[in-house]
Amino acid sequence: MSGGLGYVFAAARGEFAGQPALDRVARVMRGHEARFLAPMSVALVGRVSSGKSTLVNALLGGTYVATGVRELTFTVAHLRQGEPRIVVHFREKGRPVETYPPEEIDALTVNDPAQLEFLRSIDFLDVYVGNDYLRQFAIVDTPGLDAHLGTESQTTLNLLGRTGGDVRESTVTHAAGADAIVLVFTRRGLHEDDVRVLTDFAGADVAGLGPLNTVGALNQVEALWRPGNDPMAEATRVAGNLMSIAEVGRSVYEMIPVAGLLAAAAGTCDAEDLARFEALSKVDPGRLERIVARGDHFATRDYPEITVPAGERKALVDRYSQWGVVLATSLARDGVTTVREMRAELEQRSGLERLRGVLTGHFGNRAGLIKTTRVYAWADDLPYGVRPTLPPRAQAALDRVTRRFTELRLREENEHDELKALRAHYDGQLRLPLGGGAELLRVTGEHGMDPAARLGCAAGTPAAEMLQVTRERRTAWASAAMGVYNGATTNAIRVIQNAYVAVERELEPATA
């Protein structure tokens, strides 16, 4: 699909080239094209202490080291793949961006008046990092959204000439422009500031938060660990409670428990770590848990049965958390012998794998569609907005461009109708008969795009049988369509019928 639009952009550039009357249109189109081609962007939003930075590190495989400067804690940073550099955007309108080596920015401090002046002028940063994950998604790292800050932070903020309101506004603006949003909650559950986040977005000039672009991350799960208990199970319960709160349930697609610290450590796990876990696995599991639970003891004291030196143990706990150490040790005990396996296991058990999967799968598949919606909205207005002011030949060229965009949009219209139907479903506008919203989600590919998943058949069901099911469902929905429905439901029923036709077409060759 994106190839299609890429081709249309290229053709449109050809039409626009050398036509001064269309220069402005061509420039605007370049912005759309750039946005369209850019990897999807994911904004992380949450309170100061919610562990966003750790989660950013985890998403990037543990390799991105956040700028540790307190001075820049209140600045939005866009993390992008590229030659390491930091591009500074200024608050002053029209001031050109400036590019710096990362270490120069890291060294900035409010204590030097000249540097303070510079810090005050910063609007936001583009941080380019050489990181393969950033090829899949760019990350928008936002400041915390707390209404009340600690004194230290407040002092910095005052020095920078900013207010908490400025910071919130900047966060909401930048996050609203992202393709997907991760709302970071903490294990302590919903704080009033979290609710504020949800309502802030409702007022922003965007479609708002919704299950098509927002996922919740219940972070810091490792802190729920006690000897003998499974923190993930407890976190899953907390996540369920959070989802039952109306504001949250309406706003997020899923609440994923994540042990951010462990997840970040997973990406940096190396052979030495593995050797230490193997050594720890020789200790009786129950005894190890009890020692680890005592915190300081594990990090400082000497035990005859533990061969790993105290200093190394402390480093392990700092990076992996107590639960992480216990978990990794038990994995080593259960036969995990390679770094790759260990990383994969920890990413899975820390919830990171699920989070990444939702971002690149559930959102990623649709981010492209949402992006094209914006492009078409722009292209659809060209005949009315720009055309009347153009000389005749430029009008003809513009018409040829409009034609290409429209032809492609019409070819993709079924997918856009699908997106509309899903939005309407999540917004609670649909009154669907038969299998209802669950059937809509299933047949449009929520559980996978293969026919069995779309039909809800067991894997391995013979094609002929599935074809029979498809035809029955299509006829059932055609009959059900005869009722009285609102526009959104009528569209959704059409979407379901079209989806079954698509499955039918896929199955037919196999049964012919």
Binding site: G14, A17, H78, G82, G94, G177, P388, Q395, L410
Partner: protein
């Protein structure tokens, strides 16, 4: 025989038609049902497609063969009716064919002229215009005309005094399935602005009342038993009746056939459901006005059309919210077909009168041997000057020979009136010229094509020839910029696009590659310039700018950029290794459209098609700039291909029309451009980039999927 015109409105939800003869309009009913408005649905019955009410009647027995709202499918892929895949186009043809049959039965004579209304959302350039015309023709009409729905509605007879021509009116069309609004100037054929909204049409209101009454009357909305289905059908009928009745009175009561219960419903309840929907329609109206930059006060009136506007609350709500005079279409449900019929009945308004003669313009005609021929090439661009005896065009005659069409006096081409490949006849007015003095160019350059390389998967963005004679082509391939030797196929450099590469260019020696990466989001756009050495493959420098309009790669680590933003905005040369400004050209008044580099010259074209040559020395320090004459392009002619310079002169490689590429020398200041030095001939692809070799003996042209390599022979 009077011209019979069928006027047909294929609405999203319902269709209607009228027959116009001798200026008289008559609405036609659907054959079979006798209805004046019927469903825009189709149903497959055996091998036949039945339409309208007949389709509705078969819906119960053949649900999978039924399709409503067929207009929504037009232009998309095939739809499945029963077990057949059918192009939506065929469905529209079937509907139009039935309409034609009905009209001819009524008229008693063949009806060959049809006027079809199309949604305003089909703007200029929409492929569905052509589809509707083709469908009309396929249905057997020989004359097919189109009219945009709101334009038609604006012409519909209204209750009260009509809007005079030229009035700016807002068409408020609230139908059963959609809400559409458009800003229209009465008498004009294209709306100024259009918008539509989901979720606020008649069916949304029906659904709300239905849900309320189903609850009240104990009708199951999800049950699957035959009784449940029957009850729902009965309730749907009741909702329709009740809504119609309440447009005439404040309260109504009906007996619900399903249970015998009496239902009393009043306008207040109806209005409570309608209000949120109407608010939504009003947001859409506000959006249309804002997009058009029109204050509500500047609107002369609001026209209400569409069946739902019969409800009293619609008029009072819209009148209060917009504060403008309202008119009801006399039959709001048929406003589009009635207005289109007015247009069909009164064709006199559509005449374009000839412009008075222009005293300065001279028509140029030629008598061709054999009388006719085909135009092969234009030798002088619009705006280009010529001398008596210069060849203006080439024509392949009736006899197969090629003839030059020469000028008999000096002048400048103001307009050319035939496209390449077009048929010309003796005496046709082919060129309009005006008198002007033109510079004469002596001698011609000969060209020989050495090779043409096609890469179907990539866009050729730049090319160059090294001092050793090696050809290097630069392609944009998805997320990479690649420099290759097209003769050997060797990959010289591939630069992964970190974010997005949009432009790339080689320096005149093809030693360095500069790319400009654009990062853009809703906040800001930045341009990141990167330079690479082709020998080592290493990045030798970079630069970021918030504004970067035009640039050229000069080699020796230097780029020329315009609008640096820090040095007054004019063109300046920057050293990419140090990011330092080597020197500025010291003027800011020009806005350049293109740069072309070669030797130590950069040529920039600017507004009004003037041009400047910027020269610099071996160290990259600007030497000076001078204006050159007017280039032969104006706002209506966009055939400039690429700019290139040899070691001492600037040239233009001009693409005249797809394929035909010529070389022109830039004119001296104060002069118009002379005729082309040479035609390279039909070069595949477009010509967005051209560069001479350092010894000026070769030329490479790049554009589209093609790179072409030429050898030159200059006049001695």
């Amino acid at each position: 025989m009077a011209d019979m015109i069928l006027v047909f409105d294929l609405g999203t939800d319902t269709a209607a038609m009228a027959l116009v003869a001798d200026g008289e309009v008559r609405f036609l009913a659907e054959p079979g049902s006798g209805l004046l408005s019927w469903s825009s649905a189709v149903c497959l019955d055996g091998r036949n497609i039945v339409v309208g009410t007949a389709a509705e009647n078969r819906r119960q027995s053949r649900p999978a063969g039924y399709r409503a709202e067929i207009k929504r499918d037009l232009g998309r892929g095939p739809v499945r009716l029963g077990d057949r895949d059918i192009d939506p186009f065929e469905l529209v043809v079937a509907v139009l064919r039935q309409a034609r049959t009905a009209a001819e039965r009524d008229a008693g004579v063949p009806v060959e002229h049809v006027l079809l209304s199309v949604p305003a959302s089909y703007g200029p350039g929409d492929p569905r215009w052509d589809l509707m015309i083709a469908a009309g023709e396929a249905a057997g009409f020989t004359v097919v005309e189109l009219i945009a729905e709101p334009v038609a509605a604006a012409l519909a007879p209204v209750a009260g005094p009509p809007f005079p021509p030229g009035s700016l009116i807002l068409v408020y069309d609230l139908g059963g399935g959609t809400f559409d609004t458009a800003l229209v100037r009465v008498g004009e054929t294209t709306p100024l602005r259009v918008a539509s909204a989901d979720g606020c049409a008649g069916r949304d209101l029906d659904a709300a009342i239905f849900a309320e009454l189903a609850d009240e009357l104990g009708v199951s909305t999800t049950g699957e038993t035959p009784l449940d289905l029957l009850r729902r059908t009965q309730l749907a009928d009741l909702v329709r009746l009740l809504k119609h009745d309440l447009s005439e009175r404040d309260e109504t009561s009906f007996v619900f056939a399903g249970t015998g219960a009496e239902v009393t419903y009043d306008r207040a309840r109806l209005d409570a459901h309608a209000l949120p929907l109407l608010k939504k329609t009003l947001d859409t109206c506000d959006r249309v006005l804002a997009a058009a930059g029109v204050e509500p006060g500047a609107v002369d009136g609001v026209l209400l059309s569409g069946g739902v506007t019969r409800m009293p609350i619609v008029a009072s709500f819209v009148a209060e919210a917009l504060g403008r005079p309202l008119r009801h279409a006399r039959d709001p449900q048929y406003a589009v077909v009635a207005g289109a019929a007015q247009r069909a009945a009164n064709r006199t308004g559509r005449v374009v009168n000839a412009e008075p003669p222009d005293r300065d313009a001279t028509p140029m005609r030629w008598n061709l041997p054999g009388g006719t021929g085909t135009l092969l090439a234009w030798d002088v661009a619009e705006g280009g000057g010529f001398r008596s005896g210069d060849v203006l065009a080439q024509v392949r005659g009736h006899d197969g020979a090629i003839w030059d069409l020469a000028a008999s006096q000096d002048g400048v081409v103001v307009g050319r009136h035939v496209d390449l490949g077009g048929v010309v006849h003796s005496g046709d007015w082919l060129v309009t010229s005006a008198r002007k003095i033109a510079g004469r160019v002596a001698g011609q350059v000969r060209f020989r094509l050495l090779a043409a390389f096609e890469n179907v998967n990539a866009l050729a963005v730049s090319a160059g020839i090294t001092p050793n004679g090696r050809l290097i082509a630069v392609h944009w391939v998805g997320k990479e910029i690649q420099a290759t030797d097209p003769y050997s196929g060797e990959r010289i450099l591939a630069v992964p696009s970190g974010y997005y590469h949009t432009e790339a260019a080689l320096d005149p020696d093809a030693a360095q590659l500069v790319t400009v990466e654009t990062s853009s989001d809703i906040y800001k756009t930045e341009y990141h310039v990167f330079a690479y050495d082709l020998t080592s493959g290493k990045n030798i420098g970079s630069l970021s700018r918030q504004r970067l309009k035009r640039w050229a790669c000069l080699g020796g680590d230097r780029v020329l950029i315009e609008d640096d933003g820090t040095k007054g905005g004019g063109p300046c040369i920057i050293n990419l290794r140090t990011s330092g400004v080597v020197g500025a050209f010291g003027f800011t008044e020009d806005e350049f459209h293109h740069f072309g580099a070669g030797g130590r010259i950069v040529m920039g074209t600017k507004n009004g098609w003037g041009a400047r040559l910027l020269t610099y020395d071996a160290a990259g320090v600007p030497v000076g700039s001078k204006a050159v004459g007017q280039l032969p392009f104006d706002g209506r002619n966009h055939e400039l291909g690429a700019l290139a310079a040899t070691s001492d002169r600037a040239f233009i490689v001009m693409q005249q029309n797809p394929g035909m590429v010529s070389l022109l020398r830039t004119p001296e200041d104060g002069q118009v451009m002379g005729p082309p030095l040479a035609h390279l001939g039909h070069v595949p692809g477009s010509s967005n980039w051209a560069a001479f070799s350092p010894d000026d003996q070769q030329l490479v042209v790049a554009g589209g999927n093609w790179v072409t390599h030429w050898e030159l022979e200059w006049p001695s």
